[in-house]
Point group: C2
Chain length 391, copies 2
Amino acid sequence: MDSNADPTLASPGPTLGVVGGGQLGRMLGEAAGPLGVEIVVSDPTPDCPARPVVRDQVVGDFDDEATIRELAERADVLTYEIELADPDALERVARETGTPVHPDPATLRTIQDKLVQNRAFADAGIPIPEFRRIDDAGELRAAGEELGWPVMLKARTGGYDGRGNLPVEGPDDAAAAMEGIGGPALAEAFVEFDRELAVIGVRGAEDRRTFPVTETVHREEILRESVSPARTDGATRERAGAVARDVLAEMDGRGVYGIELFEREGEILVNEVAPRPHNSGHWTIEGCLTSQFEQHVRAVLGWPLGSTERRSPTVSANVLGDVDEPEPAELRNVRRALAEPGLSLHWYGKREVRPLRKMGHVTAVAGTGEDVGSLLTRTRGVRDSLTFRPD
Amino acid sequence: MDSNADPTLASPGPTLGVVGGGQLGRMLGEAAGPLGVEIVVSDPTPDCPARPVVRDQVVGDFDDEATIRELAERADVLTYEIELADPDALERVARETGTPVHPDPATLRTIQDKLVQNRAFADAGIPIPEFRRIDDAGELRAAGEELGWPVMLKARTGGYDGRGNLPVEGPDDAAAAMEGIGGPALAEAFVEFDRELAVIGVRGAEDRRTFPVTETVHREEILRESVSPARTDGATRERAGAVARDVLAEMDGRGVYGIELFEREGEILVNEVAPRPHNSGHWTIEGCLTSQFEQHVRAVLGWPLGSTERRSPTVSANVLGDVDEPEPAELRNVRRALAEPGLSLHWYGKREVRPLRKMGHVTAVAGTGEDVGSLLTRTRGVRDSLTFRPD
């Protein structure tokens, strides 16, 4: 099924095997249903978040080859919703079973090592912060002198949701920072951005598309809100879209990519790229003619892509664990969110809430004449009324 | 769980047991996922249409009490997506297991017998076509003389999708018509309507809401397209909404109701009512802030209802079996539908296509400035390009 430009629909439909059954796998399942596409996920947690809305789950680690092989044998196409997937295992299984994997595991391999990724972007002329390879505290101190303090120290592999990123203030903090990161790293010039932006891009069998530019708001390096349209000027939005299209051109293989950007004095720098649907694109479920999840399903199956047009100004806000200790998840005060006009609730189905864990999100579309700033205030108000703490 | 005005969300979430796992059960499942609500369906067909997108299926007949009991034991609330459910069995199971059923089985009992339903509406002053109880051909001939020929002969029980409805031209056709209907019936004055309309209503634990008035287009008594807003004048839309609210006030118990209406010279008559999400409301998935399916889930759980506001002019068109004989379903030429901007595809997952069987639908939302008439033409064009016939 490497090109499928005029698909037929039958029952059972084509089956998509997804490595990872967290919230992204769950939302892929929710998007696949109407298309008649069946989903089987693999995840180490029995009864993972995606399980109740998909055909089946294979229980096993993300990088366990026997698990991936079982998934491949039950699927027409393999994909993954987590960067921790093992590109070597994916490639071997694809070769042995004949089940194609999208995006190409080579992309995953590049993206998993931030140094390799940055070098590839630099070679392609894509604007990124200045960076240095860092293997010890001495190199970190030297990089700080060259790039100017502070610098952002990033683990080359294994980071997500801000984990593996550590701002370093000066040479005296270098040794402790290297210990904190605990492995091969890179240092990036610290970007005093005016705004963070994100673009969801999708590569299909025949063409590439990008969604409208989104403004993202982070706190403690975790995404809190996505705002579309981004509250910046038209020229900057254009520039962000152009940079995102350049990034997308560098990626191998079909699927959705989340492209995170810095805006600084009208210039755009690429911050991170994820080869999968991305938190900054959850707003597309209600906000666009086709969601990022449906686009990913279409892309990996080789189907025509849908329109990425925005229907209305839209804001998403994450519901994070506001607890001090892990505990069984129970979200309270849901009444207000359910009653809020134009607000949609997305619960991820995780059994346990942990501090700052992503447990769900809410998305609100603008009422007639409502601007995106008011919508953001309103959405935050509803989100902030939700809590895992008993009264 | 008889009132649940400030719900909490946990994992696993509340479980809704749905009698019936056809396309309505499937779309209930698609709507329930984001809310963290789990669905178990019962259906006699193993691997029924809803199965791939819900938690589980109990295999058994719609009126089999052991099946309903098993469903009730696994659910927090029971509901049904098919009028063939057995109200007596539902009531007994609810009493024995303590699992509430919504809508109230008494409503189902009323609606299952069209004579009882018509009498209840007449008593409540709700406008309906003139009707007579018919038990034999002599009564049918007498009714025709009184009401004027032709009349619409309707089976009192068991009809759906136009099955069980038979227009009778004159007294000579009476005997054959009674044989065709094959049981107790009623005759209604034939309504020379200008237009057919429909309103989806929802009764929650605390309030009732109606969706915007929809125009419906039938052929061979089967719904083909739904158009919202209805292409009639504002006063008629108002009147249709008011009649629908009167109907909703007569219904017992929480849930979504599909209310089909005739428009004749600006007057509104009630044609049929179904105590469940209805084909004429499928457009609400993309067209409204909250879909009829999400409203049904909210209503039967006792949660606050969502806004019924329309987001854009919207048209849905059914994809029916265009075959002469039952055969394994394979829908062809899907490329154009997938590529059409603003068009969403809904495949129901049925294994077998049969003549005129509902196999899926497409919904299109209007582009900027596009009127609903052009949208209808465009949507029909795409729908008509889909076929189950090989080239």
